[in-house]
């Protein structure tokens, strides 16, 4: 139906499996609908200049629409405006732009909610012990990209800790937090950050991680000192290796997201826009289209809705 | 007569190697002082200590009766000491002209020069060409060649031309004719005498005894890091000088008081 329709997918990076899967989802849908899809990505997390260049390329290329997961949700706005002025449909995926109406539509997970779910689960699992928890916070990067901040603050809120400035992690002074460290979202960084925090306080018993690779690294560090059995690790993402790690008991619970869904919905929307100019509508009651998030664990906790690992496996994306 | 340049008890040590061992030095106004000595005797170190390129571990230096302390070769240069170092001190990738005028470039007259600070390449090139011709370096075909593409002798010629052209209070020449051809060496000797006749004293380090005995007024014999003696070329033969400096013969009992 969409013959000759050009579309662009611009992700933060294309090294993170999350975005790789998003791209695969988009490509599959594009092939199905006959949309001509080109994909772009920043070089590293936070690299919004390459994203700006990618938008400009799409304009030069005469594409009909852009799907973008913005590295810097405000900085990209000028470039997005240029694209929309050139008659393109711009859809923000995964993270809303700032302001949210800078894009024609937003298909996203609620990252804050994702964090909140694991925070609640951890608090419920610990029960009364939650008051004496020793928490390690393994974040993404010192540049504090929005996703990392939302997940971190969501977790703390869910756990029952007051966040100070909701736009920033690391400013809380609750004694239960042993410390924050950065992981770059991979195993190596996860292990080192965990080691650093363990050296600070070897009795840590709750570990929040930005994503599952970081969690796997943290697990290795715990294993090295024989404490892998008595620490609760929680994470966000829901990739297949991550869910498998939940199954193996490496991770206690993880919040699962649905990048494939975001991407395929996005491609459909562009195809529809190219056909008759319809714009996608947001989810009822929200200002964006929520692709949903679910807590995956085999140890459900009271008062927190969750799905089983088997279910999670069915719906995982990497 | 007071020495224009005087040094006492200079010491310079490199790890276990002693390059200057309580060395004294005197240069009198208007004279050509030759410094001779074995390889590694410490001649270059001595003149570097005087010109400011090396800071001695101890010892004192007086210029025109005032004690001086140079922290960089630029200090020495500002005090009026112009030096041709044995290593020549040229920027290999830059052109002959650039090297000759390094640190004292000519600017174009008028607005271009004073406001736009534009260099007067033409003037510098023709000046450089003239100085090289004076030295008989006729084989330099391209005045804008990079110095690294010059032959060994041509390079040395450029360094000598630079020092002579911008001569001031004292000129120091460390083996200026080592790599030069017969004709070019001859010209350098003439140049040295020329400069002396302008009243500027010269320190000449050389291993070429005939040249030394031809132009020097006094000869400072350097051995094992110190001044062994100072001789008058009229009183001694070349053989004597060589014997002193290599240690084959004892120096005259009482070094010339001046």
């Amino acid at each position: 139906a969409g013959d000759g329709v050009g579309a662009c997918l611009i992700t933060k990076t294309d090294t993170n499996p999350f975005f790789v899967k998003m791209k695969e989802g988009a490509e599959a849908k594009a092939a199905e609908l006959g949309v001509d899809l080109k994909t772009y990505a920043g070089k590293i997390d936070g690299d919004h200049e390459t994203q700006v260049a990618a938008i400009e390329t799409c304009i030069a290329d005469g594409a009909k629409g852009i799907l973008i997961t913005a590295s810097d949700t405000s900085s990209i706005v000028s470039a997005v405006k240029q694209a929309r002025d050139a008659g393109m449909l711009v859809i923000a995926l995964d993270t809303p732009l700032n302001p949210i109406d800078a894009a024609d539509a937003t298909f996203a997970t609620d990252n804050f909610l994702a964090g909140e779910l694991i925070g609640k689960w951890a608090a419920a699992t610990l029960g009364d012990e939650a008051a004496n928890a020793k928490i390690a916070m393994l974040d993404l990067a010192v540049s504090q990209p929005t996703v990392g901040v939302l997940r971190d603050q969501g977790f703390l809120t869910g756990f029952g800790i007051d966040v100070k400035d909701p736009g920033k992690w690391g400013d809380e002074d609750d004694p239960r937090i042993v410390g924050n460290d950065v992981t770059a979202g991979n195993e190596e960084g996860g292990r080192k950050a965990m080691e650093n925090l363990l050296a600070k306080d070897p009795m840590i018993n709750v570990v929040y991680t930005i994503n599952e690779p970081a969690a796997a690294g943290a697990y290795e560090a715990l294993k090295a000192i024989g404490r892998e059995g008595d620490v609760l690790i929680v994470s966000v993402d829901g990739g297949c290796p991550g869910v498998a790690n939940v199954k193996d008991g490496v991770i206690g619970a993880t919040s699962q997201q649905y990048p494939l869904l975001m991407a395929s919905k996005g491609i459909e929307a562009i195809a529809a826009w190219a056909k008759d100019g319809t714009k996608p509508a947001p989810t009822e009651g929200k200002n964006f289209f929520d692709t949903g998030v679910a807590l995956v664990t085999d140890k459900p906790a009271e008062g927190v809705e969750s799905i089983s690992v088997a279910e999670g496996m069915d719906r995982c994306w990497g | 007569m007071q020495p224009i340049l005087k040094a006492r008890d200079l010491v310079k040590r490199y790890g276990r190697v002693v390059a200057l061992d309580s060395c004294d030095f005197d240069l009198y106004p208007g004279e050509i002082l030759a410094v001779i000595g074995d390889n590694g005797a410490g001649k270059s170190t001595l003149i570097k200590a005087i010109s400011g390129a090396v800071t001695p571990d101890s010892g004192k230096i007086w210029l025109e009766g005032r004690e001086v302390r140079f922290h960089s070769p630029l200090d020495g240069r500002h005090a009026g000491i112009e030096t041709v170092y044995q290593t020549l001190a040229m920027s290999p990738a830059l052109s002959i002209t650039d090297n000759m005028f390094m640190g004292r470039e000519l600017r174009k007259p008028g607005f271009l020069g004073s406001v736009l600070r534009q260099l007067d390449h033409k003037a510098m090139e023709s000046f450089a060409r003239e100085k090289l011709n004076e030295l008989g370096l006729m084989t330099i075909q391209n005045i804008n060649q990079a110095v690294e593409t010059l032959s060994g002798g041509q390079r040395q010629g450029v360094a000598v031309a630079r020092a002579a052209a911008f001569g001031s209070k004292v000129i120091i020449l460390d083996e200026p004719t080592a790599a030069l051809g017969v004709k070019e060496s001859r010209r350098v000797l003439e140049l040295i005498q020329d400069v002396r006749s302008r009243g500027i004293p010269i320190i000449l380090i050389s291993h070429n005894m005939p040249h030394v005995f031809e132009v020097a007024d006094r000869i400072h014999v350097h051995r094992l890091g110190r001044r062994l003696c100072v001789i008058n070329p009229k009183d001694y033969t070349m053989s004597d000088a060589v014997a002193f400096m290599t240690g084959a013969k004892e120096p005259p009992p009482e070094p010339l008081a001046a």
């Binding site: 030069a60 900085s75 | 920027s91 534009q118």
Partner: protein
């Protein structure tokens, strides 16, 4: 005077004109080769022209339009400006890993002085420029006076400046709309002149003018010659009367100043003030410099070459993207093409003498 020197007299009557050789085969080819050798920036210029041609043939209109070609200019403007700063430092045989960080910090200072403290925009811009220059001064002081290796100094400064930037800005972006309303001067370099389909932003024009200006300064002023001499052989430069320390400090300060301007231009380019920008600034600017034929060992090369180097990368990036290569393939091909560009450069240099 001993008779032994008599033979030297024989040279007295030798000819005294400069040696000349018959110009044997000065054909067109030889002349071109000689020209290539004399003007180091011509080689990257040729590579650039060739790559524009190739992509033009492959992509036709889409690439070979005034719009796309000036788009490249816009996309390389930041790298080009940073590359100018980087070139100066590399010519002194240094390297500046902190250019990107200084740029971002300067832009953040401009933004926060306007918005957090409510100062007049002119003052905020001046503060940002002062901040960049000051960072450059610290680099220069450590390199010239403390004699620390530039790599380490600027590596340290990179981390320090970047961390300061995050701490000071509290990781907050100032949005384009607010800037456009309250402090449009910050977006000055984002203004554009459109001629037909061609769009020239002030930032791109600034980049070109800056490079031309620096090329003039390096070639035509004493200071410029000193920069080359210091990079070539600092000891020789010192011995032949260059104030090495002063020259080095001035170069790093100028580099910081240019980075601050890059920060201002960055606001113009992305509209907003974002503390997460510029993380790749150092590696990209160094790439441009090296593809442009400036030696990392100092003292050799021309800043014009850097501009062509930056444009070569820009042409490849845009061309490959338009050809539809996906991101990883683009990186892979750009890797290949960086090597290829320098191989061609090296080859042309070799056949020319």
């Amino acid at each position: 005077m001993s008779e032994t020197q008599d033979y030297e007299k024989a040279a007295a009557s030798s000819p005294s004109s400069v040696a000349v050789f018959a110009a044997h085969d000065q054909g067109a080819v030889k002349r071109i080769q000689h020209a290539l050798h004399q003007t180091p920036w011509m080689v990257p210029a040729i590579v650039l022209a060739a790559s524009i041609l190739v992509f033009g043939l492959l992509l036709g209109e889409k690439f070979f339009s005034p719009f796309a070609l000036t788009l490249i200019l816009q996309q390389v403007q930041i790298v080009g400006i940073l590359g100018a700063a980087q070139s100066l430092v590399i010519l002194t045989a240094g390297i500046d890993l902190s250019v990107g960080a200084i740029m971002v910090l300067s832009s953040v200072v401009m933004g926060l002085f306007s918005f957090r403290y409510g100062l007049p925009t002119e003052l905020a811009v001046a503060a940002g420029i002062a901040c960049g220059t000051f960072c450059g001064f610290i680099n220069g002081f450590l390199v010239a006076v403390m004699r620390l290796p530039p790599f380490i100094v600027t590596l340290g400064m990179w981390q320090i400046v970047l961390a300061t930037n995050f701490l000071y800005s509290a990781n907050e972006t100032i949005r384009a709309q607010e800037i456009a309303e309250q402090a449009p001067l910050l977006q000055f370099f984002g203004n554009k002149i459109a001629i037909g389909g061609a769009i020239f932003t002030y930032g791109a024009i600034f980049m070109v003018l800056l490079v031309l200006f620096l090329a003039y300064v390096l070639r035509q002023t004493a200071w410029g010659r000193h920069v080359y001499a210091v990079g070539d052989d600092p000891e020789a430069a010192e011995l032949s009367g260059v104030q090495v320390k002063r020259t080095l400090i001035s170069v790093y300060m100028l580099s910081g100043l240019i980075c601050a301007f890059a920060g201002w231009a960055l606001i113009g380019r992305i509209g907003s003030v974002s503390p997460t920008s510029g993380q790749l600034g150092n590696i990209e600017s160094i790439t441009a410099v090296v593809i442009g034929g400036i030696s990392l060992f100092g003292g050799r090369g021309s800043i014009m070459g850097m501009l062509f180097g930056a444009l070569i990368v820009g042409v490849f990036s845009l061309g490959l993207r338009l050809l539809g290569a996906d991101a990883q393939w683009t990186y892979l091909l750009i890797g290949v093409l960086i090597i290829a560009a320098v191989t061609v450069d090296q080859w042309i240099r070799k056949v020319s003498v």
